[in-house]
Symmetry: C2
Subunit: 264 residues, 2 copies
């Protein structure tokens, strides 16, 4: 059950840390000081980190900030917009990550490695927010989660184009990379115990499994110890490495991937 991630627990005992890095040095949660959009969004991230997404209501967020819910509408036009802002705030944390800089990296594979690990660190730092990052529709349909912002798409494509990818294969690589990140991180985060459903699973989790007749699933029962093992970190590395190798083949051959490539 030990957490594999590097980088969680940034450098201090601030507890769950998280959004703190993107917030002003000013008092965070229910602290004083006048409100502004940034403080509202930061408080929302903290609130979701601690209480879960399902607990976030305008009224409770207001109370968390020491204010009536109606006051929030001065900084946020709607709850939906608030959630979009939360996603943006969390993704923005990546901008401050010194490990994820195109300039600082050695080649496109190194850059994609750093970027993937940066996104993973964010996902693990905000497991309750990540499903939102993963499922909120982005600005345009071709800007895909979890990168989500034009800035990262631009940076990604530039890195690949500079390294000899054709335009078509750079775009194909972007799609494959997005799918990989989304699938892996969404499952990893939910495995760590996000409670998307309200609190109806107070008794732990295995409720539904316990009431099922396990006798019909002997293989699952036998392999349960293996299935329960958390190998997320190693699996992430392995799948990422494999993807990068696959992309390198595409890059060398200078074209869009086609079926059956690796057979020739």
């Amino acid at each position: 059950m030990s957490r594999p991630d590097q980088g969680a627990d940034p450098d201090s005992p601030e507890g769950r840390g998280g959004a703190a890095s993107v917030l002003p040095a000013a008092p965070a949660g229910g602290g004083r000081g006048s409100l502004d959009r940034r403080r509202v969004l930061g408080a929302a991230v903290e609130f979701i980190d601690h209480e879960g997404l399902h607990a976030l209501t305008m009224r409770r967020l207001g109370a968390y900030l020491g204010v009536e819910a109606m006051a929030l509408y001065r900084y946020v036009p709607s709850r939906e917009n608030l959630l979009d802002g939360v996603v943006e705030a969390v993704v923005d944390e990546l901008y401050g990550d010194p490990d994820v800089h195109l300039a600082a990296s050695h080649g496109w594979q190194d850059y994609l490695q750093r970027l993937a690990h940066g996104v993973r660190r964010i996902a693990l730092a905000h497991p309750e927010v990540f499903p939102l990052v993963a499922t909120r529709p982005p600005a345009a349909p071709w800007v895909r989660p979890p990168l989500r912002s034009l800035r990262w798409v631009e940076s990604f494509l530039d890195a690949l184009l500079d390294s000899g990818f054709t335009e078509a294969s750079a775009v194909a690589a972007y799609r494959a990379y997005s799918s990989f990140l989304l699938g892996h991180l969404l499952l990893e985060v939910s495995q760590k115990g996000v409670r998307i459903s309200p609190e109806d699973q107070a008794d732990g989790v295995p409720q539904a499994v316990a009431t099922t007749d396990l006798g019909e699933y002997p293989t699952v029962v036998r392999l349960e110890p293996l299935l329960s093992l958390d190998e997320s970190a190693a699996e992430f590395e392995e799948a990422l490495e494999n993807l990068l190798e696959r992309l390198e083949v595409v890059r060398r051959e200078g074209r869009t991937p086609r079926r059956g490539d690796s057979r020739s």
Copy 2:
């Protein structure tokens, strides 16, 4: 704005089909006949398919069935349980898919191909439901979306064990396969235009992109035609094929995948 009201195309042209295959021959939506859990869940799936997930409330689902909301609580203990039931009903459609049968397939690769395509068909048939399939926590943390049910996990593992996978590599394959399916299908479905947010994006979508200064992202602007191309189907095939080839290497070598495999 048009209300779906009761009896949206009761039985005439099957419309989008979808859940119909798993429902009784009886009238589906707002038709008559006494309620039961199956009819309630089937109506919920139809409702979400037509109106979107955000529109589903107990009161509106009641109205869709020609009944007060309170009547639903005889068949469904809570809204959360209703959503779980919706997910289950949609996944259950896979059971009726004649293309997805272990017995009918030729080898484990063929089986995983059929299974993946079966899940993809369901995702595309119910794009508004699929995010729920993807993000609702399953019964146990090691039963992963989007397969979600012990029955499919059992079937998956059996197929691989019978084909010479070790227990550890069968489990690793299950994890890799789940991540792949989840990532690809979630992005494909959301690209097709799911509106998870309410209706605030009535003006199409590009609102946020239009208000952004695109001048800072020349590469994205230049590659926009490529980025907008929908290559989902081909990309799905290609990534699936690649995954299966990767698993074949693991199977032949009879061990859990490790980093750097394909290099040796």
